[in-house]
Amino acid sequence: MFSLIAGALRRFNRLAAYTSGIVIILSSMILVWQVAVRYWLKWPTDWEIELCVMLLIISTFMSAAHTQNERSHVTIEAMESLLPHGVNVLRKHLADLLSLLFCGFVAWNAWHFFHEAWVDGKTSSSMWAPKLWIPYFFVALGMSTLTLELALQNLRRKEA
């Protein structure tokens, strides 16, 4: 059961990460479009930048769990060579547990943030005024999958 959940989560996170990468490429294309139409066609550009910022925030949070899965969130390992093996094991266990608690809290907080924006129908203050629950939803979802990933890594470390 554990490996089934872990496998499904890994696949979902990988898919979310590749999609996030494509979203970054899409943002670059939107910016090229914006510069071209503004400079050559003198068209007004009012939604492009805001959309790109939103897309890049979404890509950041949606790739957070995959980044954690590959242990690519940078850490300081200066203590590794200074401490005895047993202490290092305990330190890493504690570090994973504290990371889990922090991300769990932010995920919970993010769902509240999303719910508030959804209920109040919040929009951004720009002329384009997109619904804010959309990016907030992905922040909450991304932090939740990151929390799940950390929980699985904690369980794996405990089993090992």
């Binding site: 670059s28 510069v35 950041t60 990371s99 943030f113």
Partner: protein, 449 residues
């Protein structure tokens, strides 16, 4: 609790969290939340996600994932190899020509990607084996690439300068221009050192060969390229020159802002890699996408959480008290400057540039202003100090990138190999103190006109 105790407690908690092995983003975020619970109204906890989101919702931060994409795309292709191989054909006549070609390749590559490890990896993966094959000592070959890679965060576009610009509220365009002169200065210093070291190693081998030693050493063998071979390499420069030209024209021609330029650079780099280097298969794209999202997410998470951290510091008045204390220190302008440089250097031994810039800049900024230190010039100095951290043990990210490229070279040799380059960077900082115009001429001249 008095302010001094609170500040010390905050600093101690930060160091414990960072050295616990927690990812830096979660460590600084975690410290912020703990201090919110302990010292701020509980209602403030509801603002955690809002604060992180509000800080990331920034037009300037767009540049980061896009420049990372640019670096990942170029790094995936054999663009780095092409670049230095072409340069070598034109520079082989000067002593240490291959080393100089690698240094220049690092500079050109840095002008297309704002990342130090990406530059290091792209040029080093083919440059180090070639230099070793031609008889360069392992320390020189690895030290040169590790140090050359750091040019990636100084020569524009630079992620470090963007972050500094955000934290210090300075013009990114001006910072980019200020990075050009010092970037070229470091390139020249590195190239001159390689020429001197190469000549020294070659003379020592010649002397040994004359007294019956190994006369077949690779360093003693001459290489030659015909004009036809040299001219044949010219088209290989074309894609690089095209991308650099597009980026420079868009930025300095007033077509686009730095954030938009990041989009343009990323798009055309990806296009170049997909069309010229044929990296259009899903297997190739997967590597580019994976590399981009991992690095970009890691940096953006640190940025988001660091903003939460500095927001809590500011709400608890720690930033203001520390800044006031720094202003009243009887050190004078240069004494204060030296103290900040020492602090940045020490922090650079353990922390990545992104964390140092976002955590330290708000604290030292008022004192820098009070002492009349130019913030654009200081941004360049700070970046060079961050560069030193990238090649200095124990963390020195580039050392480990090199170790990954050439795992058979002992880490100790790589570390000794980078030491002369740390000396050269120190010399560059001194030169910039004596002649600030090296950095400031271009932004002053450009904005003046």
């Amino acid at each position: 609790m008095d302010m001094l105790t609170l500040s010390l407690l905050f600093a101690a908690a930060t160091f414990i969290a960072l050295f616990s092995g927690m990812p830096i983003a979660f460590a600084v975020g975690g410290v912020a939340v703990v201090f919110m619970v302990a010292f701020m109204p509980l209602s403030s906890l509801a603002l955690v996600t809002e604060t992180i989101y509000a800080e990331l919702d920034n037009f300037t931060l767009l540049t980061i994932p896009l420049f990372v994409l640019m670096g990942a795309a170029i790094g995936k292709s054999r663009a780095g190899e092409d670049l230095y191989a072409s340069l070598n054909r034109w520079l082989y006549r000067i002593p240490g020509g291959l080393g100089v070609a690698n240094t220049l390749a690092c500079s050109v590559f840095a002008a297309m990607c704002g990342s130090s490890p990406a530059t290091c990896s792209a040029i080093g993966s083919s440059g180090i084996p070639q230099m070793r094959a031609r008889g360069y000592s392992e320390g020189l070959a690895t030290g040169l690439i590790a140090a050359g890679g750091t040019l990636g965060i100084l020569i524009p576009p630079s992620l470090t300068l963007i972050l500094y610009g955000l934290a210090a509220e300075q013009s990114i365009g001006k910072l980019f221009m200020a990075g050009v002169g010092p970037g070229l200065l470091l390139t020249v210093l590195f190239a001159l050192y390689v020429m001197w070291k190469y000549t020294k190693e070659k003379n020592a081998l010649k002397a040994a060969a004359a007294s019956g030693g190994d006369s077949a050493h690779a360093l003693l063998q001459d290489e030659h390229y015909s004009w036809a071979e040299r001219l044949e390499s010219l088209p290989r420069f074309a894609p690089f020159l095209a991308v650099i030209a597009i980026v420079m024209i868009a930025l300095y021609g007033g077509w686009a802002t730095p954030s938009e330029v990041a989009g343009i650079g990323a798009f055309f780099s990806l296009l170049m890699v997909m069309t010229i280097y044929k990296c259009y298969r899903w297997a190739d794209l997967k590597v580019i996408l994976n590399g981009t999202v991992k690095e970009s997410c890691m940096i953006m998470m640190i940025i988001g959480m660091s903003f939460l951290y500095t927001w809590v510091m500011s709400n608890l008045s720690i930033t203001q008290s520390a800044a006031e204390w720094l202003v009243t220190l009887p050190l004078g302008k240069w004494g204060f400057f030296l103290a900040v440089c020492a602090l940045l250097l020490v922090l650079g031994f353990f922390l990545p540039p992104v964390a140092i810039i976002l955590m330290v800049t708000p604290i030292v900024l008022p004192a820098l202003k009070a002492h009349g230190i130019d913030l654009i010039w200081f941004g360049v100095i700070m970046t060079i100090l961050m560069e030193m951290g990238l090649i200095h043990p124990p963390v020195g990210l580039n050392i480990f990138v090199i170790n990954g490229i050439a795992p058979d070279i002992p880490l100790k040799k790589i570390m000794w190999g980078v030491m002369p380059f740390i000396g050269l960077m120190t010399a560059a900082v001194l030169l910039l103190c004596l002649l600030p115009e090296i950095a400031m001429w271009l932004p002053n001249h450009y904005h003046g006109s």
